[in-house]
Symmetry: C2
Subunit: 393 residues, 2 copies
């Protein structure tokens, strides 16, 4: 499988010359005792990135994808995006109202929701505006800033289908308005077909309760669709015969096309991939073996395959995809690579199970133009310089 021959992985490494004798401060005395709740090592400094702002209650913070492993995003590093800050909700007092075109309107508390049949599924959530920095005249310098508004968790909750069966839909039911309990009452409309397909009213994330930034105590998870539809701090589901045309769907999350018309309800996040290692602001320490690793995901289903080019798109090699490849979830890809020390570029492109191929920057702009920054999913190219530094193109 691996193209590198034995003992080639570490040719360039400086750490193998001799049996070193580094003075260590541990292992001579008893360590820390057992404890009720763990924290990461004080040596680990990875954190979400956000721009300083006079109103930090509306904004986003990005996941440090350059430090990511596998397909699960640690909840503490899951990207955030909110429009009026994170409400501090007491779950015992929080209520979810389900009403409108239903036979039996309900108010549900968390403990009620936890009585329903449950599901757990691994899905990514991605901000509609993720990767929009690649349209800027100065692209973002690293993968956290260019692609960090996407993360992937194991979500647990009740399917919206189960909940809608419980309240009983009236014949005119066609759209569901979901509303959050944050100060701006963030709200989006979801068509019924999607609502009963795979949407989850989630209370669990990565094995424990949702984190506050992720909608504690309950949120919608709308697999494969733009993150703003996955309403956090969910307090109301209103069933109606049409979309509610909220601010966020009539103006906010629309895409202005070159002809002056705007695309609305562009829910699906199309197939995207990015190399996370090596990536911008990282450094290769001399020629030799490196593993190229990255993430791919598609709002339309499973990732079928990922290809990587290390020679300016002259040739493409099939990367190995981590199994199992789950629908609407991160797929980790990996490719062994021997760097010859010369300047080059690295890029990945993915194909999803529908056959959709991730477009190049130019292909995408030819269709969409530059008016709309949301839903950009062009191929990301990293440049490797002769000194090993990796930069944006």
């Amino acid at each position: 499988m691996r193209t590198a021959s034995r003992r080639s992985f570490l040719i360039a490494s400086s750490g193998l010359a001799a049996l070193a004798a580094v003075p260590k401060s541990w292992g001579r005395e008893l360590g820390e005792p057992v404890r009720p709740y763990g924290e990461r090592s004080p040596f680990e400094k990875s954190q979400r990135f956000y721009r300083k702002s006079p109103i930090p209650e509306t904004g986003a913070s990005g996941t440090p994808l350059q430090d990511s492993y596998g397909v699960i995003t640690p909840s503490a590093l899951h990207f955030e995006s909110h429009h009026s800050g994170v409400p501090q909700i007491d779950p015992a007092k929080h209520e979810l109202l389900v009403h409108g075109a239903v036979e039996h309107p309900l108010i549900l508390r968390l403990e009620d929701l936890q009585r329903f049949p449950s599901v757990s599924r691994i899905h990514f959530i991605e901000c509609a505006g993720n990767t929009s920095g690649d349209l800027a005249s100065t692209p973002r310098p690293n993968v956290q800033r260019s692609h960090g508004l996407v993360s992937c968790s194991e979500w647990t909750g009740v399917t919206l289908k189960t909940l809608l069966e419980e309240v009983g839909l009236k014949p005119r039911a066609k759209w569901i308005l979901a509303e959050g309990a944050d100060a701006c009452r963030m709200a989006r409309s979801i068509p019924l077909d999607k609502a009963i397909d795979d949407v989850i009213v989630a209370y669990g994330q990565n094995g424990e309760a949702l984190r506050p930034e992720q909608g504690y105590p309950i949120r919608l998870v709308v697999p494969g669709w733009e993150g703003n539809v996955c309403i956090k701090w969910l307090q109301r589901l209103h069933v109606a015969d049409q979309p509610s045309m909220t601010r966020e769907e009539a103006a906010g999350y629309t895409d202005l096309m070159p002809d002056g018309k705007a695309r609305m309800f562009t829910f699906v996040m199309e197939a995207k991939s990015v190399i996370t290692r090596p990536s911008g602001e990282q450094t290769l320490h001399g020629p030799g073996f490196y593993e190229i690793s990255g993430l791919a995901w598609s709002g339309r289903g499973r990732i079928e395959r990922v290809e990587v080019s290390t020679d300016g798109a002259d040739s493409w090699q099939a990367a190995e995809s981590q199994e199992p490849r789950l629908t609407k979830a991160f797929t980790r890809f990996r490719l062994p690579w021997n760097w010859d020390g010369k300047p080059t570029t690295l890029q990945s492109r993915c194909v999803d199970e529908t056959g959709y191929v991730q477009p190049t920057h130019d292909e995408l702009l030819a269709v969409r133009g530059k008016n709309a920054t949301d839903h950009y999913n062009g191929i990301k190219v990293w440049r490797v310089l002769a000194d090993g530094k990796v930069t944006h193109v």
Copy 2:
């Protein structure tokens, strides 16, 4: 699929009577701003359990399985077990020595390991002594105390096979001694067949660096084998022609049989399942619909199926298993259940892909006796009382 009819899920719930109006303190003002690293809600109190001890540096703390969702264990709640405390290791100074019957002995630092081809796989780790409390005259009152020494994470690292190919094995190589950097130099021997099958030298857990209690910066993950073999704070791999007969394998982790002989090197954790909800010390609030949910796992491969009895083992129903069912990983199972309000018992049994069936308490004791407390995997029975209280049997 679900046996419960529409609107039956919440018949017994008290929260649905009318449109309530609970005063809330949130949603009127801007919430918390974006932040670099998330914490759980202050309303969440779930924590690992451990007995107070004059030497808390040797001991174990159990995962609160009663609060678990899905199959991923949050790293902060992953069970701990250590013999001389958790060393605080500076990863820049930590070294892994690979030597013995090898062609090219090596010292590797974390940054060297991260140059190798990597894998990420979801696996459980279970303490050999997990569930031993079910042999006590007074069984543990809840699932955290009876079964909490098992957890499941997505682990990332280099396969031990890759590492051994790098150093080159000499013909006499048959066993690998793994040694930790903790004060007791915890050490176990692993046969070569297993070492090159699926063992991982891991540096990542659930998308980020290992947690200190889980062996930061590197540990062994030996899929399906007792946790003490998964050496944490790994600092040495010594290749030899036989096991080293360390204290932990010559005395510590052996199983005394009824005939006075001891089983040694009983590595594999056999198939086990337990209902986590409802479970001991939880309460059912009146007759009606409940989802029975639990976890199953096997050190020999995938869980084939899980069956649940709600009537004292007179009949068994097939539970639904969460997909994908991964090898040597947690499988979450779920079964819809309408409680008629009468006292009963709840129990689960699992079958793994080899056809191995989880035994009853009595079946297991007939073979193994009570001398050995490790590797107990009998069926766990919870009693439901008329007032809804759930207790151990």
